[in-house]
Amino acid sequence: MKFIHCADIHLDSRMSANLEREKSKERKAEILRTFLRMIDYAEEQRISVILIAGDLFDTNKVSKTAMNAVYNCICTHPDVDFYYLKGNHDVNSFLASMEEIPKNLHFFSTDWTSYQIGKTDRGNIMLYGVEFDKQDNSSLYNRLTLNSRDFNIVTLHGQTNKYQSKDKVEVIPVSELRNKGIDYLALGHIHSYSMEKLDDRGSMCYPGCLEGRGFDECGEHGFVVIDVEEETGHFSHSFVSIATRRIYAPVVDVSGCKNSDEMVAFIRDKLREENIPAKSLVKIVLQGDVDVECDKNIPYIRSHFEEDFYFVKVDDETKCKVDYLIYEHDASLKGEFIRTVMSSKELTEEEKGEVIRCGILALAGEEFNQ
């Protein structure tokens, strides 16, 4: 018996990649479509259970389109049972939007809810889940009692003690879940895939999100397919990468480059090395020390790669390098200026570099406001 474990779809949520409005809308639509493709995958693979371990949506900021698409998808796949665990971002808007709850959509509550989703030769395949509320949830784990003959799947949305999160989210004390007879701890909240042992019996898994939304979510994204052997009760898992686009943030050291074209060449080499597909979102991070008088035109550099990828941005994290000795005896205004700036006690080193660079470009009649 197979089932899909996914989480953190965050439909209609904000993109953090600084995409312009239209692309942002496109990405949201792509995420929605990826979710629907996952359902189609389930149908093709004859998977009859989909477990959504939280954050299907992202607060109440969900468009009618998304809600209707999810609702229609659930209704048009009556042979697939959807088990929906609300996450810290989910609210009741989705439920509220439904006139009638489809029979194949199942919920959890703030107390343990269980469903039998299959059978093995030994027992049942049970799914347990609970939604954390604002109260102290520490006693929840004690109330969880499982039949060891069953294949027990427990689903929770939160972060294990291992992770730190900026969101207000429940911390799941993994230790409280060990040795309880859990075969598969289906977690949600962390946006990158990880699979590790829970205890001697079971494993715990974060499937990650279906699509990255920002440059802090680089790498592969998708869902996990769990296949439970009915005879033995053992399971195998596979990660299915389904994201429409991947996100990359290659770091390029442009130290020593004298001009933008040299930097472009460095970047090209790096991109070739990383073999980034064309429809990716790419943030090129420039690092290293460059001369203060180096021609570094970020828009120009970006323009070289705009056509190569779906989205490109260039973050300039280079540091201006100033060789003060050159300007020690420079009688020109530029020299005087550099010496004046370098001797300033109110500017930071970084600011000094920026000011010098700005002044030099201005004195040279170049654009200094990029």
Binding site: D12, V62, L333, F368
Partner: protein, 874 residues
Amino acid sequence: MKLISCYIEGFGKLQDFKVDFQDDVTVFLEDNAWGKSTLATFIKVMFYGFFGEGKKALADREREKYRPWNKGVYGGKIFFESNGKEYELRRVFGNKEKDDSAGLYEVSTNLTSKDFSLDGIGQELFGIDEASFLRTVFVAQNGIVPEDLKTGIADDISAKIGNLSDATDDINNYENVMERLTDEMNRLTPKRSTGLLKKLENEIAVKQNEVREGENLEHAFAQITANMEAEKENRKNATKHLKEVNEEFVKVGQIREKLVQKEQYHKLLFEAQESEARLNRIKESFPVSVPKEEDLDRMLEKARQRDTLVPLLNDSRLTGEETIKFEKLTATFAQGYPGKDQLADCRQNINKWNELREESLAKKMTASDQEKLKALKEKYPKGMGNEEQTAFKIAAWNSQDMIIGNLGQKEISFEMQKKEHRQKEQMKKSLLILGILLFFAGGVLLGLKLMDSTTIPVVIMIAGILVAAIGCIIKPAVSSAELAEKEAEIAHDRKHVEGIKDEVVAYLGQYGIACPMERVEAVLYDMKQDYTQYQELCKKEEEYSRYQFESRLSKAEQEIKAFLQSYYPDEASNHFTETLNMLERESEQYASLRDRQEKYQALWEEEKHLKEELNNFVRSINAEEVTDFTAILLGFKQELALYNSANSQFHKDMEALSQFMENNDVEALLKVEADANMRNPDEIHAAQDELNRKIEETDEAIHAYRIQADTLSERIMNVAEAEERLEELVAVKAETEKKYHILDMTKQYLKQAKEAQTARYVAPIKNAFTKYYHLLTEEVGDEFRFDANINITKDEEGGYREIRSLSSGWQDLIRICERMALVDAMYQDEKPFLVFDDPFVNLDAKKLSHARAFLDEIAKEYQVLYFTCHESRV
């Protein structure tokens, strides 16, 4: 750099003007309007070109101002030395700059030199632009320098002073750079509404408001959702309660239904019984059997048909008279009656016969004509002359009558004429005799003088002459010859008359006609007339016999009679038309009567048959005999309708009853009784309505909440966009602030650098200024201060005053010193020439007295071109 000489072909008022310059001071002491300023300007123009080329007003364009008045060649040449080489710079000025021509030559080789560019030679030689040249090397009265070039110290001067390489543009670009930095800062500034930072701030505030609003929206959304859930719960409860009420309703309904069914059973039974009784009652109207409707309709149709036949039958029956007539005509037309064609043929024959008869009558001579013809024949047994002959004879007879008539007249006239002739002759004779007598008388008298006077004798003679004359004159009306002629004529006429008479008598005798003369004419006329008549009558007679009218008429009559007598054997008259008319009439009558008779017969047969059929039918239903079949059948029809209806109803009732009994356990139904505790269906229904209303209300409320939730959700989505945008804006703002800060710092530090740089050469300029000031004023000049921009201020009465606030004289003096100080600072190595265009004009006598020493001092190092118009300033 030194000027050697110049030649002006035409420049302003200077034409064909040559001057050689001294190495030290070349003085031009000339009157006003000689052209001193013109020469000074020529020199400037040769190196820097014209000022104000782009100005609109001609007066503002140097090119136009100095165009030669004589319209000759506009230009000249200047010889100068730089870095040990001598050059010739030649220029000719056109109407516009593009029309100018120029050339730079090395004097030693007369070859074109590329050591300096023709357009920028001034800049290249002096290292400063025109404005700076006019502010430094060109020392003029304050009014010479264009207003917009007067203020401040130019960058190129600063650069020169700073002894910077010609290759760098830093110091020269300083103002431009500061301006660009300022512009960029203004673009980004948070202090102005047009600044990007200000705009970002405003937009951020707007988005923050939207996001804050989003929180309210979220609260509202949560509230709405909660309300909706509550309403759903209410709905759920109401639905549950409704279900219970429905069940109660169903149960009550079932019992009531059973009761109703029971009632229904009784009703059905009763109805079936009632309908059976009614049916039986109606059936009594058909004691023998109940007819089928279609049979009844058919019979009714036949009855109606019969009803229609009876009047026709009566109409078609012949009256007694008609019967007699018919019999009679039957006898007449026993062998058949004539057809229309036969009658038409007969009529035609009769018409022909009539026509023939008329023609015959028309052509036949009348009895009188016959008698006339006979009389004529008798009258003229030998025939008669034809009309022409007779007419001729009549004419002849008439002519003899005329002649006779005339003859009488002629004779009478003749006699009278003869008598008159005789009388006239006699008279004539008488008169002649008288006249002769008178004449002789008179003559006698006269001759014989028988009278006293001669008058009377004369008169008598004259009278005698007159009478004789008269006698001569008088002639008879007819002469004797004429009389004789007339007599002969009369005789001829008589003879002619007699001839005619004889002829006519002979003519008449030819035809055996003798008559007295007095009747001849009449007889002739008669003959003529008779002849015409006779011819006509003969013609008639002949014609009549030619047509054979008799035989033809006879034949026609026979034919007609044969036809007519075939029907009317006794009819022998020739009143064919009447007979035929009668035949026609009677044949029509006969045909009509016969048709009627036949029709009547047919109708009678038909009626008889119908009646028989109807009787049989009626008897099959009702044993009674009837006469008015239609009425009775109509009655049957009504009854049958009632019967059928009753029968149908009965069957329906029985069907319903049996079906009911089949579908229901009647036995059980009969046992069902009403429960006293049972609620009234109306009450239950009211409760259902109430619950349905509540459910409807909750549905409406849920719907309304859903709409609100959708609206809020949409707005929340907008808030999400606003949040995204806010994040963007905040990031952009932070970045922009950083940029703004960097720009600000850059500006500040650039300014500091510039001030530091220029401060380095302020001291030498101050020293030089002090030196020159002392030369001109014998004063120290400590009260003057130079700032980093080489602006001079004077420490006076507790404050540093701008030079502009001093008198013209002091301004000129200070400017001279300033310029010389600048030039000293600018030109450390190769010294330029200086143009002094009466710079001391505003100095007082005391200072003027030092001017010479000043010039001498300057001339030690510089070539000076000194222009003045007054010896006192030489």
